[in-house]
């Protein structure tokens, strides 16, 4: 082993080596990143793919600090998607405020060198320090493959380190090789940003792969045998009938998890928040502070935290499906169906994610490489029935739809609930259809995607993924929802009357509601609904607590004085309160108003976070404004139509 020339390696702890991982999709790059950095990662992301900047820190055996960047997977530097562009630009040093990586670690799937080495050669041609990590060596060996590593290294002209990322085999050696590459190469490359890269032409790509074939003829003495079980699974999963049934089964299981399995943990969170509010309330004297904390902060944030189990279940499914390799198959199965409305098979994943929350859904559109297709998907994602609509639907359906048994174990309320979901989906598809034939008219974007070898999802990467998702969600609950709850509480509680009492009627919220009334009167709404619509515009789920504030029913029992019925458990108490609110609504609204409001909730863009994420993903104010305006007008029109129809039917 070459002894390290420590002079040329920066040793100060404030100056870590910057290293970037690059490789084909599905080469195990993210597994390597996770294995190297463990929990020490800085990520902010949602499912689909590794897109946002993922950085981690580690120490080598010699004590060198390393800052590791996980770049999105790509087949070449010739980028077709925003992700791939990030990869290319970071590698070429073209990203402002981003350090040019001092060493590139090219990651290749050892069982698929025929294709993986294409990118390696392209990276090597940049002339920068580079090490090849030959991943999944265990699988290559198991499939009878024989690789002559020294020949491979000699012919490629770079260091080659065999590794198994999931078992951490070979990782210390890899890091030593990285350090040595840098110490041999000195620091001169670090400033070399004028890399000689340009879009290759077809003959250059042919020549590159001819070179790959030449090297493999020398270095690989036995090709890997076929992966029999991937073929066997695909025979079922891509079977015309069985495959379609399997897809429906997976979707049904997912919805079952979101709506049934998430129930008990959600109830537990709800009860926990309620008793926390009570505990805080009992320690404070009656007054503005207690009211702010209990009625504003705790009940507001709690009303959102309740969705955490649902969101985690959805992400669990998406992560497992993604990690196992099934998602790509689902996109193939759905391509024609999505194509009917002009969408790409890959739009299936973002739209599916939007059922939990439009935010991860919109972020997952980054896998769609065609800009028009991507914008169409972004514009319709807010129409799918996200989990924040659920509490509003539950409240209104329970209050206005009779619980009639339709036989076959179906209840009318359940069927109406399902209908609301279908309505959102149909509207999304209709809008997509119209957009693809008007504003985003153009060539159909191609579908070109690799079906990765099936593997058992790694518990480690799924866990890391879930922790990231919950962090992001809780952060949102802690910021956006928290400030809105406080604002709402303030608007509903002030100004106080001269005698110290106050009513919602004369509060700021009431005044806004009254001012709004002329505009929403045609939809069948009065000023009270107007009051609830305002915070609901920022986040849908706040509507329920807003309505309860307006109707003067304390949903979140936090005051010690509320001990009239001490025999009721928190859960029963909660149940009673929702029922009470439902009764109050049923007593003061007509069916027409309720239907109109449901229609409003199917369509209206009532989520500031969604608009913010559209702004970030499209990098312009234009598209969030388009979303806001088109959905609001559509919602207004559809609700008006619903109201008029319902009144005509005599339900007014």
């Amino acid at each position: 082993m070459i002894t390290q020339n420590t002079d040329s390696v920066p040793k100060t702890s404030s100056d870590p080596l910057s290293i970037a991982l690059a490789g084909n999709p599905n080469c195990g790059k993210t597994a390597l990143f996770n294995a190297l950095t463990g929990g020490k990662q800085k990520v902010g992301n949602y499912p689909g793919v590794t897109v946002e900047r993922k950085e981690g820190a580690l120490l080598t055996r010699s004590g060198q600090k390393i800052s590791l960047l996980d770049l999105p997977g790509t087949y070449s530097l010739d980028a077709r998607t925003p992700d791939e562009r990030v990869t290319r630009d970071v590698i070429l040093g073209a990203v402002p405020d981003e350090r040019l990586p001092q060493v590139l670690v090219a990651v290749a799937d050892a069982t698929n060198l025929e294709r993986n080495l294409g990118l390696v050669l392209e990276l090597k041609a940049l002339g920068r320090p580079i090490v090849l990590a030959l991943n999944m060596m265990d699988l290559a060996r198991a499939r009878g493959m024989e690789i002559d590593l020294s020949t491979l290294a000699r012919e490629l002209g770079i260091r080659v380190v065999p590794i198994v990322a999931v078992t951490r085999e070979g990782l210390p050696v890899l890091m030593d090789a990285v350090e040595n590459t840098l110490s041999r190469g000195q620091m001169e490359w670090v400033t070399a940003t004028d890399s000689a890269w340009r879009t290759p032409d077809a003959s250059e790509v042919r020549a590159r792969f001819a070179e790959v074939d030449r090297i493999l003829r020398l270095a690989v003495t036995r090709k890997p045998g076929p992966t029999l079980w991937t073929d066997r699974i695909d025979r079922l999963v891509l079977h015309p009938i069985a495959g379609t049934l399997f897809l429906f089964f997976v979707l049904a299981l997912m919805f079952q998890a979101i709506f049934a399995w998430a129930g008990p943990p959600a109830d537990a969170i709800e009860a926990g928040v309620a008793s926390f509010g009570e505990w805080v309330g009992s320690g404070l004297t009656d007054g503005a502070l207690r009211s702010l904390l209990v009625d504003g902060v705790i009940s507001g944030v709690g009303s959102v935290l309740v969705f955490l189990p649902q969101i985690l279940f959805l992400f669990l499914f998406i992560l497992v499906l993604e990690d196992s390799g099934y998602m790509a198959r689902a996109a193939v199965l759905m391509d024609k169906v999505m194509g009917k409305v002009g969408l790409h098979g890959r739009a299936f994943i973002p739209l599916l994610s939007s059922y939990a929350c439009a935010i991860p859904g919109i972020m997952a559109t980054r896998t769609i490489d065609n800009k028009r297709d991507r914008l169409t998907t972004i514009l319709i994602a807010p129409l799918t029935t996200c989990s924040a609509r659920l509490p509003v639907y539950t409240l209104l359906v329970a209050a206005f739809i009779p619980n009639r048994d339709l036989g076959f174990g179906l209840g009318l309320q359940g069927v109406v609930m399902f209908g609301l979901y279908v309505a959102g989906l149909l509207l999304a598809l209709m809008v997509g259809y119209v957009l693809k034939r008007t504003a985003f008219k153009g060539q159909k974007a191609p579908l070109l995607l690799e079906l990765p070898t099936y593997k058992l999802p790694s518990i480690r990467s799924v866990t890391i993924g879930l922790i990231e998702r919950s962090k992001t969600f809780v952060r949102r609950a802690g910021t956006v929802i928290l400030s809105l709850s406080v604002l709402l509480w303030f608007l509903a509680s002030y100004p106080k009357q001269e005698d110290g009492s106050h009513s919602i009627h004369s509060s700021y919220a009431g005044q806004i509601g009254h001012a709004l009334e002329p505009f929403i009167r045609p939809l069948g709404y009065d000023w009270r609904i107007g009051v609830a619509l305002i915070p609901g515009f920022a986040a849908r789920e706040v509507m329920v607590s807003a309505l309860s504030t307006v109707y003067a029913i304390e949903l979140s029992e936090g005051t010690p004085s509320s001990s009239e019925e001490p025999l009721l458990s928190e859960e029963q108490q909660e149940q009673k309160e929702v029922e009470a609110l439902g009764k109050a609504l049923a007593g003061s609204w007509s069916l027409a108003t309720a239907l109109s409001l449901l229609m409003w909730y199917i369509i209206a863009p009532q989520c500031i976070s969604t608009l913010a994420v559209v702004r970030r993903e499209t990098n312009s104010w234009r598209w969030p404004l388009v979303v806001l305006i088109y959905l609001t007008s559509l919602a207004y029109f559809a609700s008006w139509l619903t109201y008029r129809f319902a009144v005509f039917m005599g339900w007014g």
Binding site: E114, R115, D234, I241, K336, L451
Partner: protein, 93 residues
Amino acid sequence: MNRSNGDSKLGKLPHVQLLGELRPGARGVITKVQELREATLTLRLMEMGLLEGGAFEVVHEAPFSRDPIVVRVRGSLIALRREEANSIEVVLS
């Protein structure tokens, strides 16, 4: 087609077909990748392994419409639509 008859002198000439016309089970060798309207897409097809001289096998097709198809090529499974697959000329083995 006459050319595919093994008896004539020209019989050794391979019968060229388009990848997008094939059904699952078809195997052969890619003979030509034609330039698509979108040049970078052609590059990407090649970078994903659809290159001249490479052996291929059509393994699956999606239900109902038989589109897209799944092709085994250069050690990986690639899904693509028949429309793009038609830019690839092949000879069956």
